[in-house]
Every structure is written in structure tokens, then in C-alpha cells.
Subunit: 369 residues, 2 copies
């Protein structure tokens, strides 16, 4: 069976059409069965396609001129879903014209549009944004939620664990990914009620003798261990996840900036830098977000992948490849299976309100972007 | 006027007596007016003092044999305050025998003991743990709370802003430190109710024409910008602060570990490494936590400084110096002044519960350690 085609929002991202089309073309050179629906300005897409003759038979263009702004409020963007390249790319997944959508546009808008168009899977209360982070090991670590929900109760966290494990199995190939909850200590008593409740539910569900769950639960992890690679899936609420993700990114950039300063501080260190360039290139390669590109909105009736706004064509190609793998490996069916295996106790309504308190309303604009 | 003496918990920390006494001795070589109350096993302290003849006239020993365990629950430690080196060091501040206490022991226990013995300052609801983090600039950035409170409402956050600014003024010398609230985006609508409410209070208080506040409020900051150095004080709840702090530490270690791997991957890169060693030493120096040692419990009737458990003697000396500067510059009086300048509106009770929900109880064991 051939792969369903992938809708690419050709207008999103810092570089727009050229990079998105080139990214799709690179992905297609690696996987000959990829087919695309390129959504955006037809003239500019055709121009970009001229450089990639291999794409001619593999892509259809869905013309539109409107693009969601980088700073556009999600609440405004969702009203423009029928006229913008992002809205139409997500809409193509809803209508079945495509199997997955990839966009490098405004994260908050993409999330809000995807939620409205694709709805959450049966049994999932809230979708979550998951991403891949580099580790000291060969494999990446999956972390979620990264900002789709500023709050999460125990039941949400259990659902995130199921979704993250499914993603890790497909992307990293672990049969039973090791899942931990992000906390401020590893002892049982640490953290919020929501975290302790979620830990108790996950422990009970994975300890059941008849458990058919394709994940292991290892308790809590602190944020300084995320990159060690011993944990395969780190589960957290969107506020803490976004704080951790950006702190990791900022700190890595901080250290490499310091390194640059240090390496240019004297002639001797400049020479040392030149001699050891292959080593620092290796570091750069390992840390380059393009090599870990492809954050995913999990928990929806469909696959939506968010590419970094500043991703290179190679990064976009990786995001496209992630979308294809999730399609091929039936992400949504895996999530449904594991939700069932988790059992009712783990997913019961919370006896009392837990975690960050609800804001009363559910504005799409509060989330991280 | 001579400086009040500093009580040093000589038994806490990974290395114990030798490092703590040596740290005090190094601090004293730099500041001849420092006086110490060394709390712990008299025999071992005397033995350590033999290597530091300059300390003879500058220190008194308060003998005790008990030590708080690294994993000891705060709820247990507080019942042993009268017999442990940590408890007696904090107790010396309460009784006035010392002006400040320095300990490298169990953070949660130190916090719980300090809260009980010293109580919070008038107008402060909850103390907070603040630390110094390196930046790309010359100065460190102050971040708080780092784990004393897993939750914080708008009023708590305003109080943290006042306490953090006072700390930054003393340690970094800024007249009006630039304060920001840690959030998952910089737009006004981002994040939790507590954050938005705190931002509104701080904006209003600093915008008042008659404002005598010695701080500027610059809105929100995302965690990837903490180390840039443009913000002087980063204010957050203890859960998010702990997540951000440890993510920064873990990511910096991750990058330097990768660098080590890269530098030993070939003969060429090994040679490059040797040639550029002065540069990498500079990096190591800048990132070394010993050079930013001295986390502080702010908001108490007294100065309590937490030294890293694994700090070297040089690191301990820095923690002692921080304690002395806070004493000398009358930290608690500065906080009281700024609280008054903040005005009633900024510190009013919250109309409704905000932020992370209360756990109902207030167990000292939930906090980060």
C-alpha cells in the first residue's frame, strides 16, 4: 500500500516557500514513495519546484495566498483557517486529501487549528506537543507536553505518557520505552498532587500482571537528567515542559557562545580551534536542532508535525520523514491500543482538581508558541 | 562596626569538616574582619584548623556530633534542630550569636529549619531560595524561587521580585535591577493567571509616579534567555524555577560532555584540545558552580546561605563571602524598604486562588532539595 500523501504548508517558517519545497524534495530523494500536497502561492511554489525536477510527478499544488503571521494570535488564526496555507494544510488531513500535515508556521496557531479541525482521539482529553531532544546516547529522548496545555491533571499526564511512548516506539524503535514524569526531586513525596497521583496511576497500571502496556514507568526524573538518555520519554505539563525545553536550548547556546568567545581569545586558542575543527563540527552536528526536527501534536485524529521556524531544508526533510514514519506506523492506532491497555483506574476522573488550576476559559492564546 | 560573625555548619556537604573549615579560612584571608562560629565535631574541627593558623583568633567552636543526612526528610530534620550541626548553626542566627549561617547540607532540611527558627519577615508570606547563575555578561543573574515553594500566587511572585531585586543590588551592584517573570512566552496573554496578575501588579507599582521602588519591571522572559544577562532578576514559582535551574545545569554538562567526547575522537582533535586548553579552561572556570556558589533563603529574619553540597573550599569561601555581603549591606532592611515602596495594591490578597493549587497541607518534604 502506498503512503498517504503529506500536506506541506509551503508558506510558513522564516524562509518560506523555497526551504519548504526543497525540504520536501530532499525527503523524496530518500524515500521515493513520498507524495506531497504543497499548499501556498502557486507561482512561488512552481518557481521553487523548477530546481527539483524529481518532485514533478510527486506533488500537487493547492493554491492560496494568505499566510498565518508569526505573531498572529491563535484565536485570530483559527478564523482564517479556510484561506491560509496552514489552515488548508491541516484541512487536507481532515478531508482525507492528505495523511499528515507539516508546517513551520506559528506553533500556537497550528495547534489551535489542528485541535479544531482534527479533534482529539477518543479517550484523549487534550492533545500535547512532543519533541525530540538530543542525548548522550544514540537515540533522542521524547518530551511532552511542551506548551499545548499550561496545566495538566493526573489523568492528562497518564494520557501524555501513552502518547509519548507510542511516539518513542515509532521514532526510536524501543519496544517498551522507559517513561518518567518530570519533577523537582525523585522521591515519591516530591512535587504537586497531580504528579504524585499520576505516578501512582502509572505504577499501578504497569505493575498489573495482565498488563499489555508497551511502556515501562520508572518514576520521576529531574530536568538535569533529560539529556542523559536513560529515560526515553519525559512527561510533564506544558508549562514546565516549555520551561525545560527552552532552558536546555538556551543553556546549550550559552555554552557554545562561551566556547566561541574562549576560542577566539588568543592566537593559541585560535590555532587549537582550527586543528580541532572536526571535533567541534561533530558537536555542532549533534546539537543542531535540524537533526532533531519534527515536533508532533499527539492525541489528534491525524498527524500534524511542526517544523522549527528557522529549520534548514535538511531540517524540513527530517520533519517530513517524521510525519511519514508516524503515518506508516499507524501512530493513532498505537495510542488507542495503549489507552485501552492502561485500564480504567489509570484514566479515571480526578477526585479533586489537581495541578495547575484551570483558568476557567480555554483560550488558545495562553499556550506557548 | 565589626561584622557579626558567621555560623558555619562544618558537618554538612559531601566533604564535610575539612572543606568547610578551609573555605572559611580562604574567605578570612580575603576579608580580615570575618569571624566564625564553627558548628560540629570539636575534635575534627580542631584538626582541620591546624592547617589554618590564621583562623585561631577568628573562630569559636560550637560542639555537636549529630549531622542531618543528605536524604533525611525535612520533617524529620526539624525535630533534630537542637542536636545537629545544621540546626545549631541556624539556631545561632536566631539567638544572635551569629549574623548569618552557611551550610552545605540537605537543602530541604535547611529551608525547613530556617523557616521555623527565623520566621518570615513582616509582609513576606513565604521565603524563597535564590541563586546566582552565570551569563554572557560580567554579572550573574539572580533567579528565584528555586524550589522552596512548589506553588506561588501573584502576591508571592511580587514578594519574590522585591527580595530578588534586593539580592541583586547587593551582589551585583545594580541600582535598579531589571526584573522579569519567567513565562512560556513574552506576550501579555501567555501563561497562568498568577503570572498575568503578578505582571499587572508589578507594572502598576513601577509605573507609579511617586514610586520609590529600586527595581525595573520588564515583563516576561522565556527560559532560553536566562543566561543572556539582559535580565538581572528572574522571578518564578519554585517548581518552574527548579526545573529551569536543573535544565540549565544539565544542558551545560551535556554540551561539555559532548565536547569531551568530540575532543578525544581523533588524534587531530586531541592535539587541538591541548593547544586550545587555555580556552577550554576559561570555559570551565566560567561554568564552574563554585564561582557562583551561595544560594540564599530570602525573606527570613536572618541570612542563611546554602553552599553546593559538592562545593570545593574555594566555593565555600564564595558562599561565606555572599553571606558577609548580605549582612554588611543589610539585606533584610532593604527588602522591608522595597516592600513598603511596592504599595498595598501590588501586595493585596488574591481575589481568587491563582497558580498551582494548594496541596492543602504544607509539608516541607514536597519541596525541591
Amino acid at each position: 500500500m502506498s503512503l498517504p500523501r503529506i500536506a506541506v504548508d509551503a508558506m510558513g517558517g522564516d524562509e518560506g516557500v523555497r526551504v519548504m519545497v526543497e525540504g520536501a524534495a530532499i525527503a523524496r530523494r530518500r524515500h521515493k514513495d513520498f507524495q506531497f500536497l504543497l499548499v501556498g502561492d502557486e507561482g512561488r511554489i512552481k518557481q521553487a519546484l523548477e530546481h527539483h525536477p524529481g518532485m514533478a510527478g510527486a506533488s500537487e499544488i493547492l493554491h492560496c495566498e494568505d499566510v498565518v503571521g508569526g505573531d498572529e494570535l491563535p484565536s485570530r488564526a483559527i478564523r482564517r483557517a479556510k484561506t491560509t496555507s496552514m489552515g488548508l494544510a491541516v484541512g487536507a488531513v481532515k478531508s482525507g486529501e492528505a495523511g499528515a500535515a507539516v508546517s513551520a508556521g506559528n506553533t500556537g496557531a497550528l495547534m489551535a487549528m489542528s485541535k479544531i479541525a482534527l479533534r482529539t482521539l477518543p479517550g484523549i482529553d487534550r492533545p500535547a506537543l512532543a519533541a525530540l531532544l538530543p542525548t548522550l546516547q544514540e537515540h533522542d529522548v521524547v518530551m511532552l507536553d511542551l506548551g499545548a496545555n499550561t496545566e495538566a491533571d493526573a489523568r492528562n499526564l497518564v494520557q501524555f505518557a501513552v502518547m509519548g511512548a507510542a511516539y518513542s516506539r515509532i521514532v526510536n524503535g524501543f519496544e517498551k520505552p522507559r517513561v518518567r514524569l518530570l519533577n523537582i526531586g525523585t522521591e515519591e513525596i516530591k512535587g504537586t498532587d497531580a504528579l504524585r497521583d499520576a505516578a501512582a496511576r502509572l505504577s499501578a497500571a504497569t505493575a498489573r500482571e495482565d498488563s499489555d502496556l508497551a511502556l515501562e514507568f520508572d518514576g520521576f526524573v529531574e530536568s538535569d537528567k533529560i539529556n542523559r538518555g536513560e529515560t526515553h520519554v519525559v512527561v510533564t505539563d506544558g508549562f514546565s515542559g516549555n520551561i525545560a525545553l527552552k532552558a536546555i536550548e538556551g543553556s546549550a547556546r550559552f555554552v557554545t557562545d562561551l566556547l566561541k568567545q574562549a576560542f577566539t581569545s588568543s592566537l593559541r586558542s585560535k590555532i587549537g580551534f582550527l586543528v580541532s575543527r572536526p571535533a567541534t563540527e561533530l558537536l555542532k552536528h549533534h546539537l543542531d536542532p535540524n537533526n532533531h526536527n519534527g515536533a508532533v501534536f499527539l492525541g489528534l485524529n491525524g498527524v500534524v508535525v511542526k517544523s522549527h521556524g528557522s529549520a534548514t531544508a535538511g531540517g524540513v526533510a527530517n520533519a517530513v520523514a517524521v510525519a511519514a514514519r508516524l503515518l506508516e506506523n499507524k501512530l493513532t492506532e498505537r495510542i488507542a491500543h495503549d489507552l485501552a491497555a492502561m485500564g480504567e483506574d489509570a484514566l479515571k476522573e480526578n477526585g479533586r482538581e489537581n495541578g495547575r488550576q484551570s483558568t476557567g476559559k480555554d483560550s488558545p492564546d495562553e499556550a506557548a508558541a
